[in-house]
Amino acid sequence: MEEAKAYIETGILELYVLGQLNVTEQKEVEEMAANYPIIREEINAIEIAMEQYAVFHAIKPTSGLENKIFDKIAPLSATKSKENSSATVPLYSDHSASTIRSLRFALVACIGLLILSFVALYAMNDKLVVANEQIVSLTNDKQKFASTVSYMKVANKDLQEIAAITGDPTWTVVQLGGTNIAPKAKMKVYWHKSGHHVMVDNTRMSLPENDSKHQYQLWAIVKGKPVDLGVFDAESQPAKLLLAMKEVGDAQAFAVTLEKRGGSAVPTMEKMVVQGAISI
Protein backbone atom coordinates (compact mmCIF):
# COMPACT_ATOMS: atom_id res chain seq x y z
CA MET A 1 0.00 0.00 0.00
CA GLU A 2 2.84 2.32 0.88
CA GLU A 3 4.53 1.33 -2.31
CA ALA A 4 1.41 2.23 -4.29
CA LYS A 5 1.11 5.64 -2.65
CA ALA A 6 4.75 6.41 -3.29
CA TYR A 7 4.28 5.34 -6.89
CA ILE A 8 1.32 7.67 -7.26
CA GLU A 9 3.30 10.57 -5.86
CA THR A 10 6.05 10.26 -8.46
CA GLY A 11 3.60 11.83 -10.96
CA ILE A 12 4.12 9.03 -13.45
CA LEU A 13 0.35 8.32 -13.61
CA GLU A 14 -0.35 11.85 -14.88
CA LEU A 15 2.30 11.40 -17.56
CA TYR A 16 0.71 8.04 -18.41
CA VAL A 17 -2.70 9.64 -18.92
CA LEU A 18 -1.15 12.48 -20.92
CA GLY A 19 0.46 9.92 -23.23
CA GLN A 20 3.97 11.01 -22.27
CA LEU A 21 5.46 7.60 -21.49
CA ASN A 22 7.35 5.23 -23.72
CA VAL A 23 6.17 1.67 -24.23
CA THR A 24 8.27 0.19 -21.38
CA GLU A 25 7.08 2.79 -18.90
CA GLN A 26 3.49 2.31 -20.05
CA LYS A 27 3.70 -1.43 -19.38
CA GLU A 28 5.13 -0.79 -15.94
CA VAL A 29 2.20 1.50 -15.08
CA GLU A 30 -0.31 -0.98 -16.46
CA GLU A 31 1.21 -3.75 -14.32
CA MET A 32 1.06 -1.59 -11.24
CA ALA A 33 -2.55 -0.69 -12.03
CA ALA A 34 -3.41 -4.38 -12.37
CA ASN A 35 -1.78 -5.13 -8.98
CA TYR A 36 -3.04 -2.14 -6.99
CA PRO A 37 -6.68 -1.10 -7.32
CA ILE A 38 -5.79 2.22 -5.74
CA ILE A 39 -3.51 2.99 -8.66
CA ARG A 40 -6.27 1.95 -11.07
CA GLU A 41 -8.63 4.36 -9.30
CA GLU A 42 -6.03 7.13 -9.31
CA ILE A 43 -5.54 6.78 -13.06
CA ASN A 44 -9.29 6.87 -13.56
CA ALA A 45 -9.61 10.03 -11.49
CA ILE A 46 -6.83 11.73 -13.47
CA GLU A 47 -8.48 10.65 -16.72
CA ILE A 48 -11.85 12.07 -15.68
CA ALA A 49 -10.24 15.36 -14.62
CA MET A 50 -8.42 15.71 -17.94
CA GLU A 51 -11.58 14.74 -19.81
CA GLN A 52 -13.49 17.50 -18.05
CA TYR A 53 -10.65 19.90 -18.65
CA ALA A 54 -10.84 19.11 -22.35
CA VAL A 55 -14.61 19.45 -22.39
CA PHE A 56 -14.19 22.78 -20.63
CA HIS A 57 -11.95 23.92 -23.48
CA ALA A 58 -14.17 22.47 -26.17
CA ILE A 59 -14.52 24.21 -29.53
CA LYS A 60 -17.65 23.44 -31.48
CA PRO A 61 -16.85 22.14 -34.99
CA THR A 62 -18.59 23.84 -37.92
CA SER A 63 -21.82 22.11 -38.88
CA GLY A 64 -21.49 19.67 -41.74
CA LEU A 65 -18.25 18.14 -40.50
CA GLU A 66 -20.29 15.42 -38.82
CA ASN A 67 -21.82 14.34 -42.11
CA LYS A 68 -18.43 14.30 -43.83
CA ILE A 69 -17.15 11.90 -41.20
CA PHE A 70 -20.24 9.68 -41.36
CA ASP A 71 -20.00 9.57 -45.15
CA LYS A 72 -16.47 8.23 -44.82
CA ILE A 73 -17.16 5.61 -42.21
CA ALA A 74 -20.62 4.55 -43.36
CA PRO A 75 -19.35 2.21 -46.12
CA LEU A 76 -17.35 0.33 -43.46
CA SER A 77 -20.23 0.07 -41.07
CA ALA A 78 -21.85 -3.09 -39.76
CA THR A 79 -25.22 -1.42 -39.19
CA LYS A 80 -25.48 -0.04 -42.69
CA SER A 81 -26.72 -3.25 -44.25
CA LYS A 82 -29.30 -3.66 -41.48
CA GLU A 83 -30.68 -0.20 -42.12
CA ASN A 84 -30.87 -0.72 -45.84
CA SER A 85 -32.58 -4.07 -45.57
CA SER A 86 -35.75 -2.59 -44.08
CA ALA A 87 -38.55 -3.79 -46.29
CA THR A 88 -40.85 -1.42 -48.11
CA VAL A 89 -44.42 -1.92 -46.95
CA PRO A 90 -46.77 -1.88 -49.95
CA LEU A 91 -49.75 0.45 -49.74
CA TYR A 92 -52.30 -2.19 -50.80
CA SER A 93 -50.57 -5.29 -49.62
CA ASP A 94 -53.66 -7.58 -49.78
CA HIS A 95 -54.46 -6.59 -53.31
CA SER A 96 -50.97 -6.96 -54.62
CA ALA A 97 -50.56 -10.26 -52.78
CA SER A 98 -53.62 -11.69 -54.52
CA THR A 99 -52.45 -10.24 -57.82
CA ILE A 100 -49.11 -11.93 -57.36
CA ARG A 101 -50.88 -15.19 -56.46
CA SER A 102 -53.09 -15.06 -59.55
CA LEU A 103 -50.10 -14.10 -61.69
CA ARG A 104 -48.31 -17.11 -60.27
CA PHE A 105 -51.24 -19.34 -61.20
CA ALA A 106 -51.29 -17.80 -64.65
CA LEU A 107 -47.59 -18.48 -65.00
CA VAL A 108 -48.03 -22.12 -63.97
CA ALA A 109 -50.97 -22.46 -66.38
CA CYS A 110 -48.91 -20.91 -69.17
CA ILE A 111 -46.07 -23.31 -68.56
CA GLY A 112 -48.56 -26.22 -68.56
CA LEU A 113 -50.06 -25.08 -71.83
CA LEU A 114 -46.62 -24.64 -73.31
CA ILE A 115 -45.71 -28.22 -72.40
CA LEU A 116 -49.02 -29.49 -73.83
CA SER A 117 -48.35 -27.51 -76.99
CA PHE A 118 -44.98 -29.14 -77.37
CA VAL A 119 -46.47 -32.61 -76.87
CA ALA A 120 -49.20 -31.87 -79.40
CA LEU A 121 -46.68 -30.41 -81.81
CA TYR A 122 -44.55 -33.54 -81.51
CA ALA A 123 -47.56 -35.81 -82.08
CA MET A 124 -48.69 -33.71 -85.05
CA ASN A 125 -45.24 -33.80 -86.48
CA ASP A 126 -45.29 -37.60 -86.25
CA LYS A 127 -48.61 -37.73 -88.04
CA LEU A 128 -47.36 -35.27 -90.61
CA VAL A 129 -44.39 -37.52 -91.38
CA VAL A 130 -46.73 -40.51 -91.77
CA ALA A 131 -49.04 -38.43 -93.96
CA ASN A 132 -46.13 -37.30 -96.10
CA GLU A 133 -45.04 -40.90 -96.57
CA GLN A 134 -48.60 -41.81 -97.54
CA ILE A 135 -48.72 -38.94 -100.00
CA VAL A 136 -45.48 -40.11 -101.58
CA SER A 137 -46.72 -43.70 -101.89
CA LEU A 138 -50.11 -42.54 -103.16
CA THR A 139 -48.40 -40.33 -105.70
CA ASN A 140 -46.34 -43.29 -106.82
CA ASP A 141 -49.50 -45.41 -107.06
CA LYS A 142 -51.25 -42.67 -108.97
CA GLN A 143 -48.38 -42.42 -111.43
CA LYS A 144 -48.45 -46.18 -111.86
CA PHE A 145 -52.21 -46.09 -112.45
CA ALA A 146 -51.87 -43.15 -114.79
CA SER A 147 -49.22 -44.90 -116.85
CA THR A 148 -51.28 -48.09 -116.77
CA VAL A 149 -54.35 -46.18 -117.89
CA SER A 150 -52.48 -44.40 -120.67
CA TYR A 151 -50.97 -47.71 -121.77
CA MET A 152 -54.41 -49.29 -121.71
CA LYS A 153 -55.83 -46.41 -123.72
CA VAL A 154 -53.14 -46.85 -126.33
CA ALA A 155 -53.58 -50.60 -126.24
CA ASN A 156 -57.33 -50.23 -126.52
CA LYS A 157 -56.95 -47.91 -129.46
CA ASP A 158 -54.56 -50.37 -131.11
CA LEU A 159 -56.93 -53.26 -130.47
CA GLN A 160 -59.82 -51.28 -131.99
CA GLU A 161 -57.66 -50.46 -134.96
CA ILE A 162 -56.66 -54.14 -135.31
CA ALA A 163 -60.36 -55.05 -135.14
CA ALA A 164 -61.14 -52.38 -137.75
CA ILE A 165 -58.31 -53.51 -140.01
CA THR A 166 -59.32 -57.17 -139.89
CA GLY A 167 -62.94 -56.19 -140.71
CA ASP A 168 -61.92 -53.86 -143.50
CA PRO A 169 -61.58 -55.52 -146.97
CA THR A 170 -59.17 -52.79 -148.20
CA TRP A 171 -56.64 -54.21 -145.71
CA THR A 172 -54.83 -57.40 -146.61
CA VAL A 173 -53.93 -59.74 -143.77
CA VAL A 174 -50.65 -61.52 -144.52
CA GLN A 175 -49.83 -64.61 -142.50
CA LEU A 176 -46.07 -65.19 -142.10
CA GLY A 177 -45.03 -68.72 -141.23
CA GLY A 178 -41.88 -70.13 -139.63
CA THR A 179 -38.86 -71.12 -141.66
CA ASN A 180 -36.41 -73.93 -141.07
CA ILE A 181 -34.45 -72.09 -138.38
CA ALA A 182 -37.64 -71.15 -136.46
CA PRO A 183 -40.41 -73.61 -137.33
CA LYS A 184 -42.79 -72.42 -134.58
CA ALA A 185 -42.46 -68.74 -135.39
CA LYS A 186 -45.38 -66.88 -136.92
CA MET A 187 -46.76 -63.39 -137.14
CA LYS A 188 -49.31 -61.19 -138.98
CA VAL A 189 -48.71 -58.16 -141.12
CA TYR A 190 -51.57 -55.91 -142.29
CA TRP A 191 -51.08 -54.22 -145.62
CA HIS A 192 -53.25 -51.53 -147.16
CA LYS A 193 -52.33 -51.79 -150.74
CA SER A 194 -53.79 -48.52 -152.09
CA GLY A 195 -52.72 -46.55 -149.01
CA HIS A 196 -49.29 -48.26 -148.89
CA HIS A 197 -49.67 -48.75 -145.10
CA VAL A 198 -47.93 -51.67 -143.44
CA MET A 199 -48.73 -52.63 -139.82
CA VAL A 200 -47.21 -55.33 -137.60
CA ASP A 201 -49.64 -56.91 -135.12
CA ASN A 202 -47.76 -57.51 -131.88
CA THR A 203 -50.72 -59.36 -130.37
CA ARG A 204 -50.46 -62.08 -132.94
CA MET A 205 -46.71 -62.32 -133.02
CA SER A 206 -44.85 -65.43 -131.92
CA LEU A 207 -41.18 -64.80 -132.49
CA PRO A 208 -38.24 -65.71 -130.23
CA GLU A 209 -37.29 -62.62 -128.18
CA ASN A 210 -34.37 -60.77 -129.69
CA ASP A 211 -31.46 -59.58 -127.55
CA SER A 212 -30.28 -55.99 -127.20
CA LYS A 213 -27.75 -56.31 -130.02
CA HIS A 214 -30.17 -57.60 -132.62
CA GLN A 215 -33.52 -56.59 -134.07
CA TYR A 216 -35.94 -58.12 -136.40
CA GLN A 217 -36.23 -56.43 -139.77
CA LEU A 218 -39.33 -56.60 -142.00
CA TRP A 219 -38.84 -56.87 -145.70
CA ALA A 220 -41.26 -56.59 -148.62
CA ILE A 221 -40.44 -58.64 -151.72
CA VAL A 222 -41.10 -56.30 -154.62
CA LYS A 223 -40.59 -57.81 -158.01
CA GLY A 224 -38.25 -60.44 -156.54
CA LYS A 225 -36.13 -57.93 -154.58
CA PRO A 226 -36.26 -57.26 -150.80
CA VAL A 227 -37.30 -53.75 -149.72
CA ASP A 228 -36.58 -52.62 -146.18
CA LEU A 229 -39.72 -51.84 -144.17
CA GLY A 230 -38.07 -51.08 -140.84
CA VAL A 231 -37.02 -52.87 -137.67
CA PHE A 232 -38.97 -53.99 -134.60
CA ASP A 233 -38.46 -55.92 -131.37
CA ALA A 234 -40.15 -59.09 -130.30
CA GLU A 235 -41.11 -58.54 -126.66
CA SER A 236 -43.25 -60.54 -124.26
CA GLN A 237 -44.93 -57.27 -123.21
CA PRO A 238 -44.78 -54.88 -126.17
CA ALA A 239 -45.22 -51.15 -125.63
CA LYS A 240 -47.41 -50.89 -128.71
CA LEU A 241 -49.80 -53.53 -129.95
CA LEU A 242 -49.94 -52.20 -133.49
CA LEU A 243 -46.70 -51.10 -135.08
CA ALA A 244 -46.64 -48.90 -138.21
CA MET A 245 -43.81 -49.83 -140.60
CA LYS A 246 -42.44 -48.11 -143.72
CA GLU A 247 -44.85 -47.85 -146.64
CA VAL A 248 -44.90 -50.05 -149.67
CA GLY A 249 -47.46 -50.12 -152.49
CA ASP A 250 -46.42 -53.07 -154.55
CA ALA A 251 -45.33 -56.26 -152.74
CA GLN A 252 -45.62 -59.94 -153.51
CA ALA A 253 -44.44 -61.27 -150.18
CA PHE A 254 -43.20 -60.24 -146.72
CA ALA A 255 -40.31 -61.72 -144.78
CA VAL A 256 -38.56 -61.06 -141.44
CA THR A 257 -34.88 -61.58 -140.80
CA LEU A 258 -32.86 -61.21 -137.61
CA GLU A 259 -30.35 -58.44 -138.20
CA LYS A 260 -28.00 -56.33 -136.13
CA ARG A 261 -29.73 -53.58 -134.15
CA GLY A 262 -30.85 -50.76 -136.44
CA GLY A 263 -31.23 -53.07 -139.39
CA SER A 264 -29.19 -53.92 -142.50
CA ALA A 265 -29.33 -52.70 -146.09
CA VAL A 266 -29.51 -56.24 -147.42
CA PRO A 267 -31.35 -59.10 -145.67
CA THR A 268 -29.33 -61.92 -144.18
CA MET A 269 -31.21 -64.76 -145.83
CA GLU A 270 -29.99 -67.53 -143.55
CA LYS A 271 -31.46 -65.54 -140.58
CA MET A 272 -34.94 -65.40 -142.03
CA VAL A 273 -37.40 -66.46 -139.32
CA VAL A 274 -40.79 -65.99 -141.02
CA GLN A 275 -42.12 -65.34 -144.49
CA GLY A 276 -45.43 -65.25 -146.21
CA ALA A 277 -46.73 -64.52 -149.67
CA ILE A 278 -49.63 -62.28 -150.32
CA SER A 279 -52.59 -64.41 -151.38
CA ILE A 280 -54.81 -62.43 -153.63
Binding site: E9, T10, G11, I12, E14, L15, V17, L18, G19, Q20, E30, A33, A34, I43, N44, A45, I46, E47, I48, A49, M50, E51, Q52, Y53, A54, V55, F56, H57, A58, I59, K60, P61, T62, L65, E66, K68, I69, F70, K72, I73, A74, L76, S77, A78, T79, K80
Partner: protein
Amino acid sequence: MAPNKKISLTEEDLVRALKGKETIAIQALYDMYSGALLGVISRIIQQPEVAEDLLQETFIKIWNSADSYDSTKGRLFTWMINLARNLSIDKLRSKDFRNSNKNQDIENNVDFIDSQRKITFNADTLGLRDMVTALKPEFNDVLNMVYFKGYTHVEAAEELNLPLGTVKTRIRMAIMELRKHFN
Protein backbone atom coordinates in the same frame (compact mmCIF):
# COMPACT_ATOMS: atom_id res chain seq x y z
CA MET B 1 -20.31 21.88 -24.98
CA ALA B 2 -23.84 23.17 -24.97
CA PRO B 3 -26.44 20.96 -23.32
CA ASN B 4 -28.15 18.92 -25.98
CA LYS B 5 -30.42 15.96 -26.55
CA LYS B 6 -27.97 14.20 -28.80
CA ILE B 7 -26.90 10.61 -28.50
CA SER B 8 -25.19 9.73 -25.25
CA LEU B 9 -24.22 6.19 -24.29
CA THR B 10 -22.51 4.62 -21.33
CA GLU B 11 -18.82 3.96 -21.79
CA GLU B 12 -19.40 0.19 -21.93
CA ASP B 13 -22.10 0.45 -24.61
CA LEU B 14 -19.97 2.88 -26.55
CA VAL B 15 -16.98 0.58 -26.60
CA ARG B 16 -19.11 -2.43 -27.57
CA ALA B 17 -20.82 -0.48 -30.39
CA LEU B 18 -17.52 0.93 -31.61
CA LYS B 19 -15.81 -2.45 -31.73
CA GLY B 20 -18.93 -3.86 -33.44
CA LYS B 21 -18.53 -1.23 -36.17
CA GLU B 22 -21.92 0.32 -35.49
CA THR B 23 -22.19 3.87 -36.79
CA ILE B 24 -24.21 4.87 -33.74
CA ALA B 25 -20.96 4.66 -31.77
CA ILE B 26 -19.33 7.34 -33.92
CA GLN B 27 -22.50 9.42 -33.76
CA ALA B 28 -22.48 9.24 -29.97
CA LEU B 29 -18.75 9.92 -29.73
CA TYR B 30 -19.11 12.87 -32.05
CA ASP B 31 -22.01 14.30 -30.07
CA MET B 32 -20.22 13.82 -26.77
CA TYR B 33 -16.61 14.62 -27.57
CA SER B 34 -16.11 16.34 -30.94
CA GLY B 35 -15.88 19.72 -29.21
CA ALA B 36 -13.41 18.53 -26.60
CA LEU B 37 -11.24 16.87 -29.27
CA LEU B 38 -11.33 19.92 -31.52
CA GLY B 39 -10.42 22.03 -28.48
CA VAL B 40 -7.21 20.06 -28.05
CA ILE B 41 -6.47 19.88 -31.79
CA SER B 42 -7.11 23.59 -32.33
CA ARG B 43 -4.63 24.57 -29.66
CA ILE B 44 -1.91 22.56 -31.36
CA ILE B 45 -2.91 23.47 -34.94
CA GLN B 46 -4.13 27.02 -35.29
CA GLN B 47 -5.74 27.00 -38.73
CA PRO B 48 -9.43 26.15 -38.26
CA GLU B 49 -9.71 24.26 -41.57
CA VAL B 50 -6.63 22.16 -40.88
CA ALA B 51 -7.86 21.52 -37.33
CA GLU B 52 -11.21 20.31 -38.57
CA ASP B 53 -9.52 18.10 -41.15
CA LEU B 54 -7.55 16.61 -38.29
CA LEU B 55 -10.75 16.13 -36.26
CA GLN B 56 -12.16 14.23 -39.21
CA GLU B 57 -9.00 12.15 -39.45
CA THR B 58 -9.19 11.51 -35.72
CA PHE B 59 -12.70 10.09 -35.94
CA ILE B 60 -11.79 7.91 -38.89
CA LYS B 61 -8.78 6.65 -36.97
CA ILE B 62 -10.99 6.00 -33.92
CA TRP B 63 -13.31 4.02 -36.17
CA ASN B 64 -10.55 2.06 -37.89
CA SER B 65 -8.43 1.40 -34.78
CA ALA B 66 -11.29 0.52 -32.43
CA ASP B 67 -9.94 -3.01 -32.10
CA SER B 68 -6.69 -1.74 -30.59
CA TYR B 69 -8.46 0.06 -27.76
CA ASP B 70 -8.10 -1.85 -24.48
CA SER B 71 -10.51 -0.73 -21.78
CA THR B 72 -8.34 -2.20 -19.01
CA LYS B 73 -5.65 0.35 -19.81
CA GLY B 74 -7.75 3.47 -19.55
CA ARG B 75 -10.87 5.36 -20.46
CA LEU B 76 -12.04 5.59 -24.06
CA PHE B 77 -11.77 9.38 -24.07
CA THR B 78 -8.14 9.27 -22.91
CA TRP B 79 -7.37 6.96 -25.80
CA MET B 80 -9.25 9.23 -28.21
CA ILE B 81 -7.60 12.45 -27.01
CA ASN B 82 -4.17 10.82 -27.30
CA LEU B 83 -5.01 9.79 -30.88
CA ALA B 84 -6.09 13.35 -31.65
CA ARG B 85 -3.01 14.84 -30.01
CA ASN B 86 -0.64 12.48 -31.81
CA LEU B 87 -2.22 13.19 -35.19
CA SER B 88 -1.98 16.92 -34.49
CA ILE B 89 1.65 16.76 -33.40
CA ASP B 90 2.51 14.68 -36.46
CA LYS B 91 0.87 17.35 -38.59
CA LEU B 92 2.61 20.15 -36.69
CA ARG B 93 5.99 18.55 -37.26
CA SER B 94 5.40 17.59 -40.89
CA LYS B 95 7.58 19.46 -43.36
CA ASP B 96 4.84 20.89 -45.55
CA PHE B 97 2.95 22.18 -42.54
CA ARG B 98 6.03 23.83 -41.01
CA ASN B 99 6.83 25.55 -44.28
CA SER B 100 3.40 27.07 -44.56
CA ASN B 101 3.37 28.03 -40.93
CA LYS B 102 6.74 29.68 -40.37
CA ASN B 103 5.52 32.97 -39.12
CA GLN B 104 3.21 31.64 -36.43
CA ASP B 105 4.31 31.89 -32.84
CA ILE B 106 3.73 28.51 -31.31
CA GLU B 107 4.08 29.91 -27.79
CA ASN B 108 0.81 31.74 -27.78
CA ASN B 109 -1.38 29.06 -29.27
CA VAL B 110 -3.87 28.84 -26.44
CA ASP B 111 -4.41 32.56 -26.08
CA PHE B 112 -4.41 32.99 -29.85
CA ILE B 113 -6.97 30.27 -30.43
CA ASP B 114 -9.13 31.39 -27.57
CA SER B 115 -9.21 34.89 -28.97
CA GLN B 116 -9.91 33.69 -32.53
CA ARG B 117 -12.45 30.98 -31.95
CA LYS B 118 -15.81 30.99 -30.33
CA ILE B 119 -15.39 28.75 -27.32
CA THR B 120 -18.54 26.89 -26.35
CA PHE B 121 -18.55 26.53 -22.63
CA ASN B 122 -20.75 24.06 -20.87
CA ALA B 123 -23.37 25.97 -18.89
CA ASP B 124 -22.76 23.70 -15.91
CA THR B 125 -19.10 24.60 -15.81
CA LEU B 126 -19.47 28.33 -16.27
CA GLY B 127 -18.22 28.88 -12.75
CA LEU B 128 -15.18 26.81 -13.58
CA ARG B 129 -13.77 29.34 -15.99
CA ASP B 130 -12.73 31.59 -13.18
CA MET B 131 -11.45 28.63 -11.27
CA VAL B 132 -9.41 27.27 -14.17
CA THR B 133 -7.97 30.61 -15.08
CA ALA B 134 -7.22 31.06 -11.41
CA LEU B 135 -4.98 28.00 -11.40
CA LYS B 136 -1.47 28.89 -10.41
CA PRO B 137 0.10 29.97 -13.72
CA GLU B 138 3.37 28.17 -13.11
CA PHE B 139 1.52 24.87 -12.73
CA ASN B 140 -1.01 25.52 -15.44
CA ASP B 141 1.53 26.58 -18.06
CA VAL B 142 3.35 23.27 -17.92
CA LEU B 143 0.12 21.28 -18.14
CA ASN B 144 -1.10 23.36 -21.07
CA MET B 145 2.17 22.97 -22.95
CA VAL B 146 1.87 19.21 -22.69
CA TYR B 147 -1.89 18.91 -23.03
CA PHE B 148 -2.66 21.62 -25.52
CA LYS B 149 0.51 22.60 -27.36
CA GLY B 150 1.98 19.28 -28.33
CA TYR B 151 5.10 19.50 -26.18
CA THR B 152 6.49 16.42 -24.54
CA HIS B 153 7.20 16.94 -20.88
CA VAL B 154 10.91 16.69 -21.73
CA GLU B 155 10.58 19.46 -24.34
CA ALA B 156 8.59 21.53 -21.85
CA ALA B 157 11.38 21.16 -19.30
CA GLU B 158 13.94 22.35 -21.86
CA GLU B 159 11.71 25.19 -23.04
CA LEU B 160 11.05 26.41 -19.50
CA ASN B 161 14.63 25.69 -18.45
CA LEU B 162 13.40 23.57 -15.55
CA PRO B 163 14.55 20.20 -14.18
CA LEU B 164 12.47 17.29 -15.47
CA GLY B 165 11.40 16.43 -11.90
CA THR B 166 9.99 19.90 -11.40
CA VAL B 167 8.01 19.64 -14.63
CA LYS B 168 6.55 16.31 -13.49
CA THR B 169 5.64 17.78 -10.10
CA ARG B 170 4.02 20.82 -11.65
CA ILE B 171 1.95 18.70 -14.00
CA ARG B 172 0.83 16.60 -11.05
CA MET B 173 0.01 19.67 -8.98
CA ALA B 174 -2.00 21.21 -11.82
CA ILE B 175 -4.03 18.05 -12.28
CA MET B 176 -4.57 17.70 -8.52
CA GLU B 177 -5.89 21.23 -8.58
CA LEU B 178 -8.23 20.39 -11.49
CA ARG B 179 -9.50 17.31 -9.72
CA LYS B 180 -10.32 19.36 -6.68
CA HIS B 181 -12.52 21.64 -8.76
CA PHE B 182 -14.09 19.13 -11.08
CA ASN B 183 -14.94 16.39 -8.61
